[in-house]
Every structure is written in structure tokens, then in C-alpha cells.
């Protein structure tokens, strides 16, 4: 694992921590990418117990073998747990309590209208961005038909209504993070055995890794440095040693990441109140009542398969059609195209009209144990678009990172840059993706091995954050005054405009990342988990 970073800092170089008591309650995964625990096992669980079993029993067993780790410090290994709406229901959570969870979570990722919005399926057709035959796994949330067939509106013809049932039903996701693979495998095996005894079955398991290169940077399967840009949550009280103001570029409200704190829309989510041993809404005046959502979060998981050879062959094909590069006089190559797709160089530096953004020299490390790799300059993430690359001559307007986070680039006048940066930041997500499958030997030759990303997002408002990014930025054909094109990395086959002078280059790019499964999970706080174990 060469020169992997050993400090507690996040991959993106930021470090923010929660103050007590929150650090003890929030799951570790929320605040940390666990860069010191690069190997993990992602286990998708299904609850198969019958009616006689207590819904919380499995959590008690789990606490013995893989206790969920809080965000209060570095651990030698770590476990994170998310539960789907169907999982909570199967655990016996009463409907009145479940009703206090957010609507997208309750409906699941494959609700008819949601599939259309996320561009997964329109009408009866799965999109090209989904594996053949549709996704393999989901929470299999039954559609909510309450009220259907009654009232004035019921007589209207329905426009679109399908029920998707995936082969595998997933009730929970357990991610265990370790320092090395054997440890992770053994631990996962033991955990699976313990869970099995509670009739919880592992229906899908993936070894997932961060995968550092020699420079200590994370590389995803296509070969790009990943995990560079993350928002930095801020809260006057709940963030430890909070600076006087949020970070000017990446600062967001803590409530956009952790439920129950002030969020970017000036609100705090309050969840259903419960008391131990009672599966019903508690008396709001009861001082011992626990807000089930407080210090929890929502986890969006999408298993995205990557066709690495397909991507690079496509990139090479495109490069060949583009002729000579006026800037260098030489031929365009596949890397050049791939880098425009992402918007960053293979090494992670954002593209600028005159090359890439130079790295800032590193200030001398102040932590005594900082490893040598940290003293090397890393890609700079403190950039905006308006001043230096408004027209997208460096980083194309429709590139993955501009669609993922347009920063101040959507402004049309200098006076708008501040407010548009602020408005972009209301849609930031914390990405905790890890990859599965081995790196490809030769990126031009398909080896038939399955690989990709377990794309995982932590956010407090699924609609405003993950779904907004996916729908209004990634998949929107009219993003940024573009037309007829979607995200070149995630979208279906479509045009992709690359800013150039005198006129833009426009190429056609195919789809090489496909959805193989996914859903929305609740990441309970540790006190909430304890309450759930009592079910």
C-alpha cells in the first residue's frame, strides 16, 4: 500500500470533526473516508426470519461481532450500517414511526416517478445506463397504493405506474473497513456466520477498496484520481473547533449531512420520537424520548459497473476522429478525451484553458507523524470557474466534475457568482465510493471481469442533494445552456461538447457505466441503533 496517507485527514485534505456528544453518536463513515482502512467488505443483507423472531435480535448479535463505529476517533477497523425502509419494516418498526422518515427513503430508489427522474427508466424501458434486464438488487419497496381507488381523482387514467421487483431484496448494508484483505475476509466470514444464525443472509458481498497509487492517491478503475472534492460541513456548535465561518468554497451546513442540525435551507429535521421498549410514537414531553433520526443520515448506494476497455476504446476512437491538436501540433489521444470527460487530468488536476491548475506548494506539516507523501503537493480543489474558465475552454461545461458541482460557473454576470456558488453548495454530497473488482491489466482489452464502483453518497435531504445532482445536473440535457447531451461519464450515448476556439468540438460518447443495483438506506445514529435492537 506504498505511500498511503496515514494521518487522520480526509482524502480531500480537509479535516472536520464532530464535537461531543455528536461524535459519539454519529456513524464514523459520515465524517471519514477511512483512508487508513483501505480494504472493506460490503455486505448486502436480507432478513429472512419468521414472525416469531424479534426484529432487533440481529442487531444485538451484530454488536458482538461488528459493532458500528462512531465518529469519535480513529479505529483499527470499522463497521458502518445502513437499513432500507423495507428492512425497518421487516424489523417490525411501526408504520407511524416509519412515516416520520423522508419520503424518498420510504418510497425507495425504484419508485416509478423517481426512476424517470433519475433517468433509470422511462415508461416500460430501462435506460441504457442500467445493466441488461434491469438492476439486480434493491430494497424492493412495494408501491404505496394508499388512497388509490378513492376520491375524486381516482377515476383518472394513470400515466405511468410500474412495479419493479429486483431478483435480490436488500434490507441492510454492512460495510466493514480494515487495513488488509485477509483481515477483512475473515471478519466478513465470521460476521456472516453470526448473522446467519439470526436468519440474516448475505445476498451479495463485494470486496471494496480505495486503492492507492504510489503517490498515495485513490484511483478509480478508469485510472483517474478520485475522492478529491468533498464539501466541508460547518456548524457553530456541533463541529469541533469550528472556524468562525464555513469554508468559502466548500462549506455547507452540517444539517445537510447529519440529520437534526441546521441545514442549508435553514431547517432542522426532527424525526419520530420514541422511548425504549415501546414501538410507538412517544409522548413529545417525555424527557427520555429519543429522536430516531437525530445524528443519523441517509446513504444512497448505487452499484455502478464500469466497462474500462469500452471507455478507453471509445476515447481512442473519438481522439482519432478529432485530428491534430492545434495546441500541441500532435494527435489527440485517448487520455486527452478521457480527461475532458472527467474535467480533471488523470492525476486529478482540474483542466484550465492553458493546461491544468498548478498545485500549491504544501505548507510544512504540523503533525509530527505526517508521512512523506503528504509533503508532496496534491491537486488543488480550491478553484472556481467564473474567473478562469467561464466558457469551458479548459474544463468542458458538460464534464463530470462541472455537472457534479458547477461551483460558481452557472452565473451569467459577475454579480451572481457569490449567490450561485452558495446555491450550488446546497446540493453538495459527501461521496464515499469504493471500488470493486481488480484493476484491468490492459485498459484497451476487455478481460470480461466485473468491476466498478459502489457509489455511496451521504446526504440529509435525498431530493435536494443526490437526486438533484443526478437529475438536474448530471442527466439534464439542458444543463448550462448545453443541449442534447448528458453527463459523458454516466449518461446514455449522447453528444459531448468540448470547449475550443474558434468553435467547440462535439463528439459522440457511448455509455460505459451501468447501474447494477442500489437503493436508499438510513444510517442510524448509535443511540438509534440501540433503540432498534430493542425491537
Amino acid at each position: 500500500m506504498g505511500g498511503r496517507p496515514v494521518s487522520e485527514r480526509n482524502l480531500d485534505g480537509s479535516s472536520w470533526k464532530l464535537a461531543e456528544p455528536h461524535a459519539h453518536q454519529v456513524q464514523g463513515m459520515v465524517v471519514s473516508g477511512f483512508s487508513h482502512l483501505p480494504i472493506s467488505q460490503t455486505l448486502l443483507l436480507r432478513f429472512d426470519w419468521d414472525k416469531t423472531v424479534r426484529g432487533g435480535a440481529w442487531l444485538e448479535a451484530l454488536a458482538e461481532i461488528a459493532p458500528v463505529t462512531p465518529a469519535d476517533g480513529k479505529q483499527d477497523s470499522s463497521a458502518s450500517l445502513g437499513i432500507t425502509a423495507t428492512g425497518l419494516k421487516k424489523m417490525g418498526l411501526s408504520d407511524e414511526i416509519l412515516a416520520g422518515f423522508s419520503q424518498p427513503f420510504r418510497e425507495g430508489m425504484f419508485q416509478t416517478d423517481r426512476m424517470r427522474r433519475l433517468n433509470d427508466r422511462v415508461g416500460t424501458q430501462w435506460s441504457e445506463c442500467v445493466i441488461d434486464g434491469g438492476p439486480l438488487w434493491s430494497a424492493n419497496t412495494p408501491p404505496d397504493n394508499s388512497g388509490e381507488g378513492s376520491g375524486l381523482l381516482a377515476s383518472l387514467p394513470r400515466r405511468d405506474s410500474v412495479r419493479v421487483v429486483t431478483e435480490l431484496t436488500v434490507h441492510a448494508i454492512l460495510i466493514i473497513h480494515c487495513t488488509d484483505a485477509p483481515e477483512a475476509t475473515t471478519w466478513a466470514k465470521e460476521t456472516a456466520a453470526v448473522l446467519k444464525r439470526c436468519d440474516v443472509n448475505v445476498v451479495r458481498a463485494k470486496e471494496t477498496t480505495l486503492g492507492f497509487d504510489d503517490e498515495g492517491m485513490v484511483r478509480e478503475h478508469f485510472g483517474f484520481v478520485d475522492g478529491l472534492s468533498q464539501p466541508i460541513p460547518w456548524d457553530e456548535e456541533a463541529v469541533r473547533d469550528a472556524p468562525p465561518a464555513p469554508d468559502p468554497i466548500h462549506g455547507i451546513a452540517l444539517g445537510d449531512v447529519v440529520l437534526g442540525h441546521t441545514d442549508g435551507h435553514h431547517e432542522t429535521t426532527t424525526g419520530p420520537l420514541v422511548v425504549p421498549g415501546n414501538n410507538a410514537l412517544a409522548d413529545p414531553d417525555d424527557p427520555s424520548a429519543l429522536d430516531l433520526l437525530f445524528n443519523g443520515s441517509y446513504l444512497v448506494v448505487r452499484e455502478l459497473r464500469q466497462d474500462v476497455a469500452g471507455f478507453w476504446n471509445d476515447a481512442e476512437r473519438i481522439a482519432r476522429t478529432m485530428g491534430t491538436n492545434p495546441a500541441t501540433g500532435g494527435q489527440f489521444d485517448g487520455n486527452w478525451v478521457g480527461e475532458r470527460v472527467i474535467g480533471r487530468s488523470m492525476e486529478g488536476d482540474v483542466l484550465r484553458p492553458d493546461g491544468v491548475l498548478p498545485r500549491k506548494p504544501v505548507s510544512p506539516p504540523n503533525e509530527a507523524h505526517a508521512a512523506s507523501s503528504e509533503t508532496k503537493p496534491v491537486p488543488d480543489n480550491e478553484f472556481l470557474y467564473w474567473d478562469d474558465d467561464r466558457a469551458g475552454l479548459g474544463c468542458p461545461l458538460g464534464s463530470h466534475i462541472r455537472r457534479g458541482n458547477p461551483r460558481d460557473g452557472l452565473a451569467t454576470k459577475p454579480s451572481q457568482t457569490k449567490s450561485l456558488l452558495a446555491s450550488s453548495n446546497r446540493h453538495r454530497i459527501i461521496r464515499r465510493a469504493r471500488k470493486f473488482g481488480p484493476y484491468i491489466e490492459d485498459r484497451m482489452v476487455d478481460d470480461g471481469v466485473e468491476r466498478g464502483l459502489i457509489f455511496a453518497v451521504i446526504n440529509a435531504d435525498i431530493e435536494r442533494q443526490f437526486e438533484f445532482v443526478q437529475q438536474s445536473w448530471m442527466m439534464s440535457p439542458s444543463f448550462h445552456t448545453l443541449f442534447d447531451e448528458t453527463d459523458p461519464l454516466l449518461g446514455p450515448k449522447s453528444n459531448f461538447s468540448i470547449g475550443a476556439e474558434p468553435v467547440r468540438r462535439r463528439v459522440t460518447i457511448h455509455n460505459h457505466t451501468k447501474l447494477a443495483g442500489g437503493d436508499y438506506f438510513f444510517l442510524p445514529s448509535l443511540p438509534a441503533l440501540e433503540w432498534l435492537s430493542g425491537l
Binding site: R116, G151, L153, H265, T412, Q471, R504
Partner: protein
């Protein structure tokens, strides 16, 4: 169709069209006449004079044209925001065709290497000129200067009327009392008013969203404009009040000018020192006692119906109806404020976008049910969620100003603060007020506001015989 439990269902036909109404009614009649008749047969017979027309139109085997009946029931919006203003549908479609052809000619862009933007533009222009002969003409001005001037004039007239009437009590007092007495009287009134104002102007604890724009900071920022407006107010009011003095107090003209100047000065003092803060205190009192709705419940089935209709094409439609709060200042604000906002939007917005919101085709506000409810109709781009996020993030002050007088709206401070900045509360409230749009036709379903503007920039650029290198480069950025 708008349904609610407090009123009978309301049939709303929204029509946004180019040109005069005559041809519109004829076309509507030709296209939908018989179906409209069927629809009207399900409606209540009106109680006013249009009842006999209603009978004629809806009678068995009637062949009477339903349009005249509908015409009797037209409500013009009190505020209308027109995105892409000045571009009729024909032009939008023509420019789209042109932009598509340009795309087609540019291909992947590689063959233009080494040329300047202006050379590219000239080449395209001469190549496309035969197909699009209008490229030889100067593009029509989107909003004629006269129209803009007229809008400013109307805005000024309305503002003047409101302010002038408001300062009359102060001026009348000045006519009755001497300076010393007035100064004492105003001071005695102003001091408690300002004390109260200062005490209550800030949001109550749970309401504050630390908005960066407050009514006071807004006023401070625009101080010069406000002082200018007061000076204009003074000058315009002067002849009016001088004539009033001549008529009512039998003064000679020179004395009347002098007396009225003094009265107006006192009138303005009254306006600023007493009336405005007093009205604001009244508003603050109402705001602090508002019953905003924390948990409006949207019928899950209605919600599904709405969602089911959304996001099929880049555009979406929404209709919302909310009840207005009953208090006098609230109603007065709504009835006067909405036309003011309308005129201000018309006068000030010329680039087709509403500030940094670039997704609104047309949005309108109208009062229905004897002015007790506010109807809002909007044709917008992208998802409902993103539309409302735009409202919340980019325009919450304006949105709050428009809706703060509506029942259930999230708590507001000083007319424009907080309110819609309470993101989820505002979204829930808005969803709750909506009804599914059952039938909806768009004149150009695949175009967004942004793309229409872009096509327009491309077309305008191509119309020019010559562009400077910098202008040509900017033009090429849109391709």
C-alpha cells in the same frame, strides 16, 4: 382544475399567446370549441349577466360559440413574468431551426481549426443566408424602447399615487398647525413608533434564517435611489398640493407654492418618521401572530398524480391556489404590491431571465374567488424540486414578498425576510397548494428558456454584417 375543500372546484384555462386576443379566440374555438362546450356544461351557471350566454352555449344541441362566454370570465393576471420576452413563437421556432442548421454545419468542429471566430461566422452566414433570408435583416428589437418607457412611466405613476396619498395626512396637519406644534406632535408620535419598530423589526428566534438581505439593508443599499424618489415625489406633488391650497384656502399662487412646499416637507417627514414604520409595526404585529402551517398534508394520491405528470419533457407546469390572509394591510399589500411587482419586472427585466433564475417561461399571479385567493400558474424548465430550490436559493426575498400575505405561508419577517428561506416548509406549503395540471400544451415543448436565449444570441450574431473579434469570440461561445 383546482380543487379545495373551502370552495367549489375551479376550472382554470390558462392561455399565454402571442398577438391580439381576437385570433386566439377564433383558433381556440376552431380547435376545441365542442369540447369546451362539454366542459362548460359541467360548470355552474353564473349568477351575473353572462348567465343567458351560458344557457345559450350549453343548451342541448347548441351551436353557439363558447368563446364569447369565456371572454366574459377572463381574468388578467395582476402580475405576469414573461421569460424570453419579445420573442414570438414563430421567431423562437425559426431561430431554433437556424441553430440546428448551424450545429449541423459545424459538425464536430475540427474543420474550423485555424480560422478566427469571425471567419467561421462569415462562412456560416453566407452559407445559410439562402435558406434563412431574414439573416440579411437587422433583428427586430425584442422590447421597443417606447414599451419600456411606458412601463417605467406606469410604475412611476402607481408608486407616485400610493406615496402621494400616503403623505396627504401629514401635509394636511402641516396646513393646520404651526411648525413648533408639528415638531412636538411628530416627535411625540415618532419616538414610540421607532422604539417599537426597533424592538420588533428583528425575527423571532425560531424564525430567523440570518438572511443576508433584510428590508433595512435593502433600503440602505438603495438609499440614493430612495432619496431621489422622494425628491421626485416632492416635485410632482408640489403642483397638486399648491392647487389644493389655492382652491381650499383661497391663497394666491405665490403664497400657495410656498405653503405647499412646507406642507409637503412635513408630509414626507410624516411618511418616513411615522407612517412607514407604523405600518411596518402593524405588519410585524401580524407577522408575529401569523398562523403559519408547519405540517400541511398533501393528499398522497394528489401528490402522485402531480409527480406522475412531471418530468417527461424539459418543461413542467404548475398551478397553485392559496387563500389570502384577511387583514387590511395584508390585502392592501397584496392588491397594490402585486401590480407593482408586475410593473417592476416588466420595466427592469430585459434579458429574458429572472435574475439568476433562468428557467421560467411564463409565470402569473391572479386573484380569484372575489379576491380571496391567489392563483399562481407557471411554465418552467427542469424539475419541480429544482424550480423551488431556485426560488429558495436565488429569489426567496421576492417570493416571500409575493406570498407573505397567504394563509399558511412560513413565518415572515419584515415582508421579505425569512419566509421562503425556510426551504422545506416552503416546499411543503407550495405542494400542498397545488393541483395536478390535467391538460397542458406547450408551444415549443423541447426548448428551455436558456436554449431559446442561446438560439436568439446565435441568430442575432449571424444577422450582423460584421462583428469585432471580441464580439465574434463571445458569439462563438454559444455554439
Amino acid at each position: 382544475m383546482v380543487e379545495s375543500s373551502d370552495y367549489d372546484a375551479l376550472l382554470v384555462i390558462e392561455a399565454n399567446f402571442d398577438g391580439p386576443p381576437g385570433p386566439f379566440w377564433a383558433q381556440l374555438q376552431a380547435l376545441l370549441g365542442e369540447r369546451l362546450r362539454e366542459v362548460l356544461r359541467c360548470c355552474k351557471r353564473p349568477m351575473d349577466s353572462s348567465a343567458c350566454l351560458y344557457d345559450l352555449v350549453t343548451a342541448d344541441r347548441s351551436r353557439r360559440d363558447p368563446a364569447p362566454f369565456l371572454e366574459c370570465h377572463v381574468i388578467h393576471p395582476k402580475a405576469f413574468f414573461h421569460g424570453n420576452r419579445g420573442l414570438p413563437r414563430e421567431r423562437i421556432l425559426a431561430e431554433q431551426a437556424l441553430a440546428e442548421m448551424v450545429e449541423d454545419r459545424l459538425k464536430d468542429g475540427s474543420s474550423w481549426n485555424g480560422q478566427s471566430s469571425e471567419e467561421v461566422r462569415q462562412a456560416l452566414r453566407s452559407e445559410l443566408m439562402p435558406k434563412f433570408d431574414w439573416l440579411g435583416n437587422k433583428p427586430a428589437t425584442r422590447i421597443p424602447l417606447t414599451e419600456t418607457l411606458l412601463d417605467w412611466l406606469k410604475l412611476a405613476a402607481l408608486l407616485f399615487a400610493v406615496l402621494h396619498i400616503s403623505l396627504v395626512p401629514g401635509a394636511v396637519l402641516a396646513a393646520l398647525l404651526g411648525d413648533a406644534a408639528l415638531a412636538v406632535l411628530f416627535a411625540v408620535a415618532a419616538i414610540p413608533v421607532w422604539m417599537f419598530f426597533n424592538r420588533y423589526r428583528r425575527p423571532i428566534e425560531t424564525v430567523g434564517t440570518s438572511s443576508s438581505v433584510t428590508l433595512l439593508s435593502f433600503a440602505r443599499k438603495n438609499l440614493i435611489k430612495i432619496l431621489g424618489a422622494l425628491a421626485v415625489l416632492f416635485l410632482l406633488s408640489w403642483p397638486i398640493s399648491a392647487s389644493a391650497n389655492v382652491l381650499a384656502r383661497d391663497l394666491a399662487w405665490p403664497a400657495a407654492w410656498q405653503a405647499s412646499a412646507r406642507q409637503l416637507a412635513w408630509g414626507i417627514v410624516w411618511l418616513i418618521a411615522i407612517l412607514i414604520p407604523a405600518v411596518l409595526i402593524w405588519m410585524r404585529y401580524l407577522e408575529r401572530h401569523d398562523s403559519s402551517q408547519d405540517g400541511p398534508e398533501t393528499d398522497p394520491l394528489v401528490l402522485r398524480q402531480m409527480r406522475e405528470m412531471e418530468d417527461w419533457i424539459p418543461q413542467n407546469h404548475m398551478v397553485s391556489v392559496v387563500s389570502l390572509r384577511p387583514q387590511i394591510p395584508r390585502r392592501a399589500m397584496s392588491y397594490i404590491g402585486t401590480p407593482l411587482i408586475h410593473l417592476a419586472l416588466r420595466a427592469a427585466v430585459h434579458d429574458g431571465y429572472l435574475g439568476s433564475m433562468r428557467t421560467i417561461h411564463c409565470a402569473q399571479w391572479a386573484f380569484v374567488n372575489n379576491g380571496s385567493r391567489l392563483l399562481f400558474l407557471s411554465n418552467y424548465d427542469l424539475s419541480w424540486e429544482s424550480y423551488f430550490d431556485d426560488f429558495i436559493e436565488k429569489a426567496h426575498e421576492g417570493v416571500t414578498a409575493v406570498w407573505c400575505g397567504s394563509v399558511g405561508f412560513p413565518p415572515v419577517t419584515m415582508l421579505i425576510e425569512d419566509g421562503a428561506a425556510h426551504g422545506r416548509a416552503f416546499k411543503n406549503w407550495a405542494r400542498h397548494s397545488m393541483s395536478p395540471t390535467r391538460f397542458w400544451v406547450s408551444a415549443y415543448p423541447n426548448l428551455t428558456v436558456d436554449q431559446i436565449e442561446r438560439n436568439n444570441r446565435i441568430a442575432n450574431g449571424l444577422c450582423a454584417a460584421r462583428l469585432s473579434p471580441e464580439a465574434a469570440r463571445q458569439w462563438a461561445e454559444d455554439l
